[in-house]
Amino acid sequence: MSERLSVRKTYKLYIGGAFPRSESGRSYVVTGAKGEFLANASKASRKDVRDAVSAARKAFPGWSSATAYNRGQILYRIAEMLEGRRAQFVSEVAEADGVSGKKAGELVDAAVDRLVWYAGWSDKISSLRGSANPVAGPYFNLSTPEPTGVVGIVAPPMGPLFGLVSVIAPVIVTGNTCVVIASERAPLPSITLAEVLATSDLPGGVVNILTGSSAEMAPWLAGHMDVNGLDLTGADAELAQKCEELAAENLKRVLRPNGKTDWAADPGTGRMTAFLETKTVWHPIGI
């Protein structure tokens, strides 16, 4: 008897909570660390970027006005779902990075833990970044952080799951929505992650994931006038400069690539605060 033929997964994009193919109809071959064929991933186009941005914009009012507790709960739920699919991620990460199953397991665990860590930040970052300001007059004066809006993310090429989770979680936990350009080299875990997101009570559109060519898509994202922030962590120096220049057109908040990021290190609050605005409200105090 012959071995059972496996049913392969089709890797599509993740936009507005749905899994469409690229409008361009393009795909590209994704290979594993040893060069073996893994899948045909969707190769998203500028129009997919556009659609993803509008999905992210549409999701922003609801997500940013959800309670911090609620956002924290949902991030924790993502962690739970990710843990539940551990085996699948371990195998995808092992294939993508060519690492041992044990190492891949550690990376998946780290990704889960990172989500849990950020989940807890949802209702704490305001206390840390906000302030009651003792102005010299009869005014109540309070500063609070608010999400920047729609953030474009060029995910790191390495660390297809752990790196990816480490750039998405800090952006959305504070109420931003995002469009993520997944690792071009290893996009498959990002789509599996999308499946997790889609089943984690995360409203559609909060995270949108595009696979394909970073160099092709990132400039469209950087130049998009309805994108408010840009995380260029995964861009090389040349692409980053180009994107930063494009981002100047509407004064996007840009998080520049910072050489080699050690994802295992304490991430600090920088990735959250890069995409927070401070709003200061004044009100007289009188009878």
């Binding site: 010299a136 220049e245 509407n250 600090g268 605005e277 401070t278």
Partner: protein
């Protein structure tokens, strides 16, 4: 009975303007290499002084001086830096009248404002950040200064913007090269003298004067670690592009087109005052000016008639007269821009109104102006006029007010007038603006972070938040 206020001019004698000024580099005044320019009193068009133009080479000298001083300054204990800043703050208080008069002469703003608003805030800002210099470890942004800060400031609040830039930079241990606006360099140069009086180590503060090219040289200098700019969104974009691909840290405080939203339950008399303060304070040369009045339809007529009556009491004229409410427009170029946009407003069908108001013959003047019947699509509802021109729009519901208020690429400030606290907070939550003034407007304080959303720029000035711009991120 007509109660005519006699002229009550503040004395010019308190300030001694030199015929010409050099650049302030490494603790002393030196000649600039460029062609000097004249700075004029916008209220009379009289030349006040000739001022040096810093070329790229001059800017380089200033940056080198700042770099050299950085070693010394950053190595000082915070408590020592604090004392220098406290000393500067005190000297500013001691010389406040002189600075206020000079500011009004060079800028055209009423002495009432330079005396009662600008100068007290300038001194307060130095006092505030002086106190941070030896407490940085508690602020949460680390304690490592960036290095040399290149700072470019506008002409609307010359000395106040200088304070907003220099005080936090120095408190954090940075040294600075600051370029004041070409139409208002004088108070910055007097500040340079204050640095000398305070025995500030040479090179910690350098002032380079000139126009856009000088500013570009400051921003573009490869040895500048930090760029801080306040000015137009247009220039802000250029700067953001210029620093792309570098490691320079940038903060930008840019333009605005703020909505000042008045609900039907507002305290009307105070709302009228807030509207006046919102758009006519400093001739409307205010990035956070409440230039779009959004008034609930049910009270629009009543509010507008109160507003017009109030505007008829505004006194326009000699900036040095202590009773002047509206001073001169800062420059001929700015006046031309205000005129151009106002004419566009009329051409697009909005109705224009100004109180009876005689304009002096010499100098640059524009009467307080209100446009009614304005819609979102009009240029005067979208573009920053940066002058005493108010565009009036109406709305029906809170949601519509929010929608209209946010319907702009800017996001610097907003005003909300309602006596209902829950509605105020509901609005404040939804307005995409860095400062929301509710039942007040155009209030500033060194402890209170200020800065914009969207195309109004990024970074905050003031408060603990203001330190972040001048410290290395901890990661």
């Amino acid at each position: 009975m007509i109660f005519e206020y006699a002229p009550a001019p503040e004395s010019r004698e308190v300030v001694d303007i030199r015929p010409s000024y050099g650049l302030f580099i490494n603790g002393e005044f030196v000649d600039g290499s460029g062609t000097p320019f004249k700075t004029v009193n916008p209220a009379s068009e009289e030349t006040l002084a000739e001022v040096a133009t810093a070329t790229e080479a001059d800017v380089d000298r200033a940056v080198q001086a700042a770099r050299k001083a950085f070693g010394v300054w950053s190595a000082l204990p915070g408590s020592e830096r604090a004392k220098y800043l406290f000393r500067i703050a005190r000297i500013i208080q001691e010389r406040a009248r002189e600075l206020a008069v000079l500011e009004s002469l060079d800028n055209g703003k009423p002495i009432k404002e330079s005396r009662d608003v600008d100068l007290p805030l300038v001194a307060a800002h130095f006092f505030y950040y002086a106190g941070w210099a030896d407490k940085l470890q508690y602020a949460g942004y680390g304690t490592t200064p960036l290095g040399v800060a290149g700072q470019v400031i506008p002409w609307n609040f010359p000395l106040l913007m200088l304070a907003w830039k220099i005080a936090p930079a120095l408190a954090c241990g940075n040294t600075v090269v600051l370029k004041p606006a070409e139409t208002t360099p004088l108070t910055a140069l007097l500040f340079a003298e204050i640095c000398q009086q305070a025995d500030l180590p040479p090179g910690v503060v350098n002032i380079v004067t000139g126009a856009g090219d000088t500013g570009a040289a400051v921003v573009g200098h490869p040895d500048v670690d930090k760029v801080a700019f306040t000015g137009s969104t247009e220039v802000g974009r250029l700067i953001a592009r210029a620093v792309a691909g570098t490691t320079k840290k940038v903060t930008l405080e840019l333009g605005g087109k703020a909505a000042n939203i008045v609900f039907d339950d507002a305290a009307i008399d105070q709302a009228v005052e807030g509207i006046v303060t919102g758009i006519f304070f400093n001739q409307g040369h205010v990035c956070c000016a409440g230039s779009r009045l959004l008034v609930q339809e049910s009270v629009a007529e009543e509010l507008l008639s109160s507003l017009k009556r109030r505007l008829s009491t505004l006194r326009l004229g000699d900036p040095l007269d202590k009773n002047t409410d509206i001073g001169a427009i800062n420059s001929a170029a700015q006046l031309a821009k205000i005129r151009e946009l106002s004419e566009a407003g009329e051409a697009e069908g909005a109705s224009r109104w100004s109180p009876a108001c005689a304009l002096p013959e010499k100098g640059f003047w524009f009467p307080p102006t209100v446009f009614t019947g304005v819609s979102q699509s009009h240029r005067i509802a979208r573009e920053e006029i940066f002058g005493p021109v108010l565009s009036v729009l109406t709305f029906r519901t809170p949601a519509e007010a929010v929608e209209k208020a946010n319907n702009t690429p800017y996001g610097l400030s907003a005003g909300v007038w309602t006596e209902k606290a829950s509605r105020m907070l509901w609005m404040a939550n939804r307005l995409r603006a860095g400062v929301v003034w509710s039942n007040t407007f155009n209030k500033f304080d060194p402890t209170s972070p200020f800065g914009g959303y969207k195309e109004s720029g990024y970074g905050r000035e003031g408060g603990r938040h203001g330190l972040e711009a001048y410290l290395k991120e901890i990661s």
